[in-house]
Symmetry: C2
Subunit: 409 residues, 2 copies
DNA sequence: GCCACTTAATCCACAGTGTTGTTTAACTGG
DNA sequence: CCAGTTAAACAACACTGTGGATTAAGTGGC
């Protein structure tokens, strides 16, 4: 506010010294849990186990493992991954891709096999000597529960390690009208019904997609617009206590970006009531300084545009709502996405949310057009655009994916 | 382009399975070096050493260590960090903040002290028992060289571990006209002059800020607009070979964001010829899918705006260039920054570059105004705005900061 | 002035990680 | 059939952080 600052060394700034990645200190919050930076032997072991599992998963889903070309079954140029009696990845390949020794990989794989997470599923073709033994994930070794707490619907689902939805339940609710208690009771009931007689010790945990931003740390709802009774509720702790399962929480659009594997630099554009985006940048989910990252709907696109509910003029969301035709609405979104792709250098955009699912082809076509027009340079032509394969379950599935982070790192 | 996609499962998409943070596989590139995901005991040790150094640095620079309040000298509410005979941080505090045992911290500190990186610099006040021994960085234990390869100027400087510029040299060049060879010869000469008789084994390495984006991996110049002779040059390897020092490379605006410590969610807005931004999000430097992250100047702000050199209409950069008065130009930038802050939920913006340094107060005032107007909610009022304290050396100092990552993690 | 109490830091034995060197398993090719 | 080659396991080992006991250096009550 004041204009008293001099040209360098502004008093509002506390910065000193150049540096590494970040200040480092405010303990990094991940989905409502605090993680300290030091690593002990247990952390080392878990990290490497997660690395191995992650590599195995990437290999068996056939996606983005080597050169993002995903054929995976036939002989590559380098002569690897030639499957004969099954699918998977061998220990030697794991060693090469992880940077660990073959011996270390053997031990890790042994542990994971004993835990039931991995299994030998075939033999690779010989490369001149003993053929490789192929390893794969056992998808049903563990499950994750995903919950989407929407304004008018509660979704609970169970996903396996391959990220498939094994069962899902949708129940209409009135988040604002009912208030927390009855909704949480219902949530508990529905999760119980969902899990039935399944062994609870194979359920990794519960991921919740909240309808709005969260508090700085700790999984407390920050401010649910139009539902004051929810504001300030320590939702994570509350659900964890009721269900007795490890619980993580994330804003809905942010959860959505975890609904499927993908590029380390991607966005999930969520077009429901509001317009939000979930961001994965540099391989990490982005939450921002106050878990508000991805407020995609309120970037200004046109100073002469209509006034938005946020108070400003020309927001994407307002332009979208005021668009005369669906095509015009999709085009507005396309412009905004082009800005996003260019600013963050993304190479994958996934669309989700009710509005998109109502007219997926329209949105895909228009947004493709906008991207092609506004990013004509060939370097930008590799942007992948798609609608979330999990459709209306994307956000809940992403919440489940949040839990899988416990295994895959 | 085609409209043949169905509502879910678009053919252009290779995604399957929900999931963890990212696909994991394309080996994470950090400033032109490949890092494999597996971690061995050496990596563990280095990580913890970096953690300790980072905590010590945060404590001695007095910034953002505990609650971003940075008083640091007097008694905190919790009764910690009460300095008596010096500044620094004690082993117990390091243990608490890192999550490691006091014993582990003792060993790590011992190693770092033997390496000359840390020193005991005083005693804390007693908290009822034996007073804490305070530790601090030894700033001159190591140095980093930072290079900014500008279009018309070459900057080389030496920074110490506290991030202070110990010596700097500025030489006019003509990047496009001269071509690579003479410029690289000059660069070598200047670094030699800069380092003089200093022991080379205490120079951690060289960081280079390139005038444009880099190739996917490996530190190759991608496309230096207007200087075709530089396109495709493997600059990192070339400089590393000539100087015999570990070399890292980064795009100039991205390097700038490392010129000072700061928030884990911050941007360095670089207003020179073009308009770029360096981004640190979630504590990590963001490079994007093709090292193009931060193309801040080409977000569309006004569909009726003037045509930009990039081919589109209404880009920030074009609007800024066409602004009738300096105030109007600053206001355009303010709008764009407001979009940025909101989209990524940043809490710190640092301004740099020639244009800003020519009229810092104007820019600060106008941008503050834009932020206050467009982000009126109190939750957004905590955004810190400042001009880079290192002024014209910011980008080169950031390049040096890139090298410090080797120590601080 | 003394002594119980408290907190910081170190000493010592130890569990568990990945590594190195060697051996066994399994297939290719002349 | 056997040398050559690659995959994976076995055995001894180095080095990490951990846990428990010990020493160092203050405070405060009497």
């Amino acid at each position: 506010m004041s204009g008293s600052s001099t040209s360098s060394g502004d008093p509002t700034s506390v910065t000193t010294g150049p540096g590494g990645t970040s200040t480092g200190s405010p303990p990094s919050t991940a989905a409502g849990r605090v993680t300290l930076p030091g690593a002990n032997l247990t952390a080392l072991r878990d990290h490497n186990a997660a690395t191995v599992l992650s590599l195995v998963r990437a290999a068996s889903t056939g996606g983005a493992a080597e050169h993002a070309d995903g054929a995976g079954q036939t002989t590559d140029a380098a002569g690897q991954t030639e499957a004969v009696g099954g699918t998977g990845i061998s220990r030697v390949e794991l060693a090469r891709e992880s940077g660990l020794t073959a011996q270390a990989i053997s031990k890790i794989v042994q542990r994971l096999t004993e835990d039931g997470l991995l299994a030998e599923t075939g033999r690779g073709a010989s490369t001149g000597g003993k053929p490789r033994t192929l390893l794969s994930l056992v998808p049903d070794a563990r499950w994750a529960v995903g919950v989407q707490l929407g304004r008018d619907e509660l979704t609970v689902l169970r996903a396996d390690l391959a990220g498939r939805v094994m069962a899902a339940r949708h129940v209409p609710i009135d988040l604002a009208g009912w208030g927390p208690r009855p909704v949480l009771d219902l949530l508990g009931e529905q999760v119980d019904l969902l899990l039935g007689a399944l062994p609870r010790d194979r359920v990794l945990g519960v991921g919740i997609a909240s309808p709005g931003p969260l508090d700085q740390r700790g999984g407390v709802l920050h401010d649910v617009t139009g539902a004051p009774s929810w504001t300030g509720l320590p939702l994570r702790d509350e659900v964890e206590r009721r269900l007795g399962l490890p619980t993580l929480i994330e804003k809905d659009s942010t959860a959505g970006v975890l609904s499927a594997l993908g590029s380390p630099n991607r966005a999930f554009v969520h077009l429901d009531r509001g317009l939000g985006a979930g961001l994965v940048l540099g391989g990490a989910v982005q939450r921002g300084a106050r878990t508000n990252a991805g407020e995609f709907g309120h970037q200004m696109l046109d100073p002469t545009g209509p006034r938005c509910r946020c108070g400003n003029a020309g927001c994407v969301e307002a332009l979208w709502a005021a668009a005369p035709t669906p095509t015009a609405a999709a085009r507005v979104l396309g412009e905004a996405i082009a800005n996003l792709v260019r600013l963050l250098d993304l190479d994958e955009i996934v669309l989700g949310g009710r509005e998109v699912l109502a007219a997926p082809d329209l949105y895909l076509t228009e947004i493709r057009g906008s991207l092609a027009a506004r990013l004509p340079d060939p370097a930008w032509q590799t942007v992948t655009l798609s609608v979330a394969p999990s459709g209306p379950d994307a956000v809940a599935l992403g919440a489940a994916g949040l839990v899988l982070t416990r295994l895959f790192g």
